[in-house]
């Protein structure tokens, strides 16, 4: 099963099998919902079916990956390489984690509407298309299939005004972003006569980047910039992160961001590789601005959810810095950092969902004070997550950050590297206070931590996430291998040749 002819329907079907399995699962869950959508047990059943669907997709993905599936001849519509497989592993992982976190959360908040899971699955299939798109039309479709369900999910808590606000805000901004992206695609098509990324790449390499294709690229960058919440397109993030139900926030911070970044890497590497000199300065400025602004504003937050929203802007900045380097190492670093970020963020939000129990109380630095005495395991897990977000040695977050720094310094241009470490230092100013509250301050009152118990499924997610963070932080060889082999998919692209020439 090594070669698949992507020009035949059957070959294309096999290539898209993981996406198809997820889509099928979404439809099945929707069908089940038509008959069973009243009790908590129904909701849980839908969750279990989604989980089964996602695991099945994972198995199919594993089979394709291990079988070394590759396109026969020219790639068409959807990529079939290590980078796509890696991307889909991340996305499926984020989705499975989100489902596990949601199982008990929905019951606790009495959000009994099993459609939640089918929306989640549809969004997942959209993400997978987005991250694997080899054609700009597929890219756009993926983006829309991902975004629309997430708008609904953000507003899923009908009893909460902030949730409704989050959904509406995300929808309006997201629609605008889609428009930008679509216009960018149109202009690119106009300039190159194709929407296939490989062909776009060849044409741009041949004719150089002109006004029209340059404008197309810029508009696409804006569109994707909104999705990954990079400065200056980040304004929606704090309110949406804060208002949305916590597992949905986790999903947006992990899945949406990962899919957006992996698509961005592919567009830039394959489609606009030869125009690296054009986009590098733009990406560099966006990266620096995101790192500086995200980290500085996060310092001023009291609510931990809002703090994490701004910190996610900062992390978008770190990731853009990896994209900036425009090399295989940069693509690999993006993947690796995203893996670390997905694991950490899932575990963090899993814990936050529990801390904000019963009507989503605002979790602040004050309200978590002294948690370590009552719930040492939860406090320890959150501490490890904070150190990983900080990029501290011994955690996977450090490996990710190291990969990014390494890919930047390989380009012999140190400015972004210095910005990255200095802003990381700033980030210690808001991650450490979380740890400080947990361990070094007395609780506000005796009862404040009553009922902070991680339910079974969430406990599994958090525990698994934290253990992986530590294990991969110390023994990262396997993860690096996967990311590197994924990034080798871009060998021979125009950009890769440009990167070699720069050396």
């Amino acid at each position: 099963m090594t070669g698949l002819d992507l020009l035949t329907p059957s070959g294309l079907m096999v290539a898209m099998l993981p996406e198809l399995v997820v889509t099928l699962a979404a439809v099945i869950v929707l069908l089940i919902n038509a008959w069973r959508h009243q009790t908590a047990a129904d909701s849980r059943f839908a969750g279990m079916v989604s989980l089964a669907g996602l695991v099945a997709a994972l198995a199919v993905l594993g089979a394709l990956w291990r079988g070394g599936a590759a396109p026969l001849g020219a790639p068409n519509m959807i990529a079939l390489d290590g980078y796509r497989f890696g991307a889909q592993l991340l996305i499926l992982g984020a989705s499975i984690g989100t489902v596990l976190l949601s199982l008990d959360y929905l019951e606790r908040e009495s959000l009994i509407a099993p459609e939640y899971y089918s929306l989640l699955l549809m969004a997942t299939s959209g993400m997978m298309f987005l991250a694997g798109a080899e054609d700009l039309i597929v890219l756009f479709l993926g983006l829309e299939v991902m975004s629309v369900p997430v708008y609904v999910l953000a507003a899923f808590n009908r009893k909460s005004a902030v949730s409704a606000e989050a959904g509406l805000k995300y929808f309006l901004v997201g629609a605008l972003a889609s428009a930008f992206l679509l216009y960018g695609i149109a202009l690119t098509y106009g300039a190159t006569g194709s929407t296939a990324l490989t062909v776009v790449g060849q044409r741009i390499a041949a004719q150089g980047i002109g006004t029209m294709s340059g404008l197309g690229l810029a508009l696409m960058l804006i569109g994707l910039g909104f999705k990954v919440a990079s400065v200056p397109f980040h304004m929606w993030a704090p309110d949406v992160y804060d208002g949305a139900p916590t597992p949905v926030t986790a999903y947006m911070a992990t899945g949406v961001k990962a899919a957006g970044f992996l698509a961005l890497v592919r567009v830039l590497m394959v489609g606009f590789g030869s125009a690296v000199d054009t986009w590098q300065p733009i990406i560099g400025v966006l990266a620096a601005a995101s790192m500086i602004l995200g980290n500085l504003v996060a310092l001023a937050q009291r609510s931990i959810k809002r703090m994490l929203a701004y910190s996610s802007v900062a992390h978008a900045g770190y990731l853009l810095a990896a994209v900036w380097s425009g090399s295989q190492a940069g693509a690999s670093a993006t993947m690796l950092y995203l893996a670390a970020y997905v694991l950490t963020t899932l575990a963090t939000f899993g814990i936050l969902a529990v801390l904000g129990r019963g009507g989503e109380r605002d979790v602040t630095l004050d309200s978590i004070a002294g948690l370590a005495q009552r719930r040492p395991a939860i406090a320890a897990a959150l501490t490890i997550c904070m150190f990983s977000l900080l990029g501290f040695p011994g955690t996977f977050g450090f490996i990710g950050k190291w990969a990014i720094l390494s890919s930047i310094t390989a380009e012999h241009h140190q400015f972004l590297a210095v910005v990255l470490v200095l802003t990381s230092l700033v980030s210690a100013g808001y991650y450490l206070p979380v740890i400080r509250s947990l361990y070094m301050r007395p609780p506000l009152n005796a009862e404040i931590h009553d009922g902070v118990i991680l339910p079974g499924a969430a406990r599994l997610t958090v525990a698994l996430g934290v253990i992986l963070l530590l294990v991969l932080g110390i023994l990262p060889r396997l993860a690096i291998d996967r990311a590197d082999s994924g990034a080798r998919s871009f060998a021979g692209t125009a950009l890769d040749r440009a990167a070699q020439a720069r050396r």
Partner: protein
């Protein structure tokens, strides 16, 4: 002894065991009940010390090269290995660390009453981190240990510290991290440049980088790279004006934390200069500008630290500022780059570890009795607690640098060694010794002499056996190193000579440095 050690193949496993054993111990201690935790921790640290003692005989320090080198690939994709090795300088630092840890555990028995398993587990993790810093021979590994060490210290200050502990803990963490992050970039840049020079071979090995550090391409950016390393280490030393975190951290930390900070953590800064910053970039480090700046800062540190110490009402703060002053001598000696200067600097590092460690223990002991560190709250203690007073006097005299006690050896060697090279600076630094006498003796007078005029002081008990067990090993060290420092000087001399050759760019690293099995033939 050597034969016995060779028969158990000591050299091949000892460095790994020294790193892993405290970590395993930390897990066991963390999981054990509070009553058992401290005893278990004491057993682990004591055993660690006994294990490490063999290094004194087994490491062949006569060449000044790295011995017991072991390299295991760790992240081969990135050219990162787990590489450890030890020379005379590392040896003394490692032994200083392992010797202090059981004392720190023992000294905490009475002071720490809550969350004991966590406390002792952190001390053990800290042990691994500190030893790791002194033996890591791969820049990635070094960086990991260097940073990981922050975490236990952050918790020790933040959870078990004094009133203002939250502020002190954060300040300590951020200051140290600020320096080390820039060093991280510098390391990465060095590796990239070395890769360009060395046929694309990416390696974080210390020797690999040393080999390419003096290449012309590196030369162009060397000032920046040196600056990054310099900042990381200068903050840790701490060199004036980067010292402001130190008084806060020292004062707020629990006794054992203060002892470790003063006796070991500060030495990592000077160790970093000797091992990394200067051998990598001797041209920059000994350029006129850098030399003048560093020597000036060191001398300012010596005098300023002593003057500020004089006016402190808080004993712990007084000792904290005296550290700034003493470490100034060490930096002066390092930049003198003469055999006496460097040996002196190392002796200051070791001696300061003993005497300041003992001072902090003594302060902690009296604090546990009276719950105040105000000098003015005491007076006339000599009549109430004679043993305490006697030991405090001896240790204070050692800290001043009285001949016959350890403080003298180091500072005297530094002054001799640097006088020929920086006569004026050394002349000014000499006044630091006089000021040291002033602040120490004055403090001594107000604490243990003067009139016994405060009723609270009349009823405090003298040192008990556990406390004596903490102090006597330190006293033995203080007297031994003061009267007969030769064995220690002999251990560090070849490494010091080698360092001096490196500062002149005379050693071509790589040819004879890497020796995998070199001990006790």
């Amino acid at each position: 002894m050597s034969n016995f050690l060779a028969s158990i193949n000591y050299n091949s496993w000892i460095l790994h065991v020294l790193l892993v054993f405290p970590l395993l111990g930390a897990v066991a201690v963390f999981l054990s009940p509070a009553a058992l935790a401290k005893r278990l921790a004491f057993a682990v640290t004591l055993l660690e010390f006994l294990l490490s003692l063999g290094l004194w005989w087994s490491v062949n320090t006569s060449n000044g090269t790295m011995e017991l080198m072991q390299t295991i690939p760790w992240i081969p994709q990135w050219g990162i290995s787990y590489a450890v090795g030890i020379d005379g300088i590392s040896l003394t630092m490692v032994l200083l660390t392992t010797m202090l840890m059981p004392l720190c555990v023992l000294g905490s028995f009475a002071a720490i009453t809550e969350r004991e398993p966590g406390y002792y587990a952190l001390l053990l993790v800290l042990t691994t981190g500190m030893i790791g810093v002194f033996i890591a021979m791969d820049m990635f590994l070094f960086y990991v240990f260097w940073e990981v060490m922050l975490v236990p210290m952050y918790f020790l200050i933040g959870v078990w510290g004094g009133k203002n502990r939250l502020y002190a803990a954060l300040k300590f963490f951020i200051y140290t991290m600020a320096g080390s992050l820039l060093m991280l970039v510098a390391i990465l840049v060095m590796v990239r440049v070395a890769a360009v020079m060395g046929d694309g071979k990416v390696s974080f090995s210390y020797f690999h980088l040393l080999q390419y550090a003096q290449s012309p391409i590196m030369g162009r950016i060397a000032p920046w790279l040196f600056l990054a390393f310099f900042l990381a280490f200068a903050i840790k030393v701490p060199l004036f004006p980067f010292h402001t975190w130190l008084p806060d951290a020292h004062v707020e930390a629990p006794t054992a934390g203060s002892v470790i900070l003063a006796s070991v953590l500060l030495k990592m800064g000077t160790y970093g200069f000797i091992r990394f910053a200067i051998p990598f970039f001797p041209g920059v480090a000994f350029s006129t500008f850098v030399t003048n700046t560093v020597v000036t800062l060191a001398v300012i540190g010596v005098v300023y630290g002593a003057l500020v110490a004089m006016v402190q009402p808080d004993i712990k703060k007084l000792v904290a500022y005296s550290s700034v002053s003493h470490l100034g001598f060490a930096v002066l000696g390092i930049w003198a780059a003469s055999v006496q200067g460097v040996q002196g600097a190392l002796m200051v590092m070791i001696g300061h570890g003993f005497s300041t460690g003992a001072l902090f223990f003594l302060i902690g002991m009296i604090y546990e009795r009276r719950h105040t560190r105000e000098i003015n709250a005491y007076g006339g203690l000599a009549r109430v607690v004679p043993i305490f007073s006697l030991i405090l006097t001896v240790v204070a005299l050692a800290s001043i640098g009285l001949p016959g006690l350890n403080g003298f050896v180091g500072e005297f060697l530094v002054l001799i060694g640097s006088f020929r090279i920086y006569p004026y600076a050394t002349g000014i630094a000499t006044t630091g010794v006089i000021f040291a006498a002033a602040y120490m003796l004055w403090a001594l007078q107000r604490i243990i002499f003067n009139k016994l005029d405060k009723p609270a002081n009349e009823v405090i008990p003298d040192l008990n056996r556990r406390e004596l067990a903490v102090l006597i090993p330190l006293l033995i060290g203080i007297v031994w190193m003061g009267l007969y420092p030769k064995p220690v000087l002999d251990k560090i001399e070849p490494a010091a000579r080698r360092y001096i050759l490196m500062t002149k760019g005379l050693v071509v690293p790589g040819d004879d440095v890497i020796r995998t099995k070199g001990a006790s033939q």
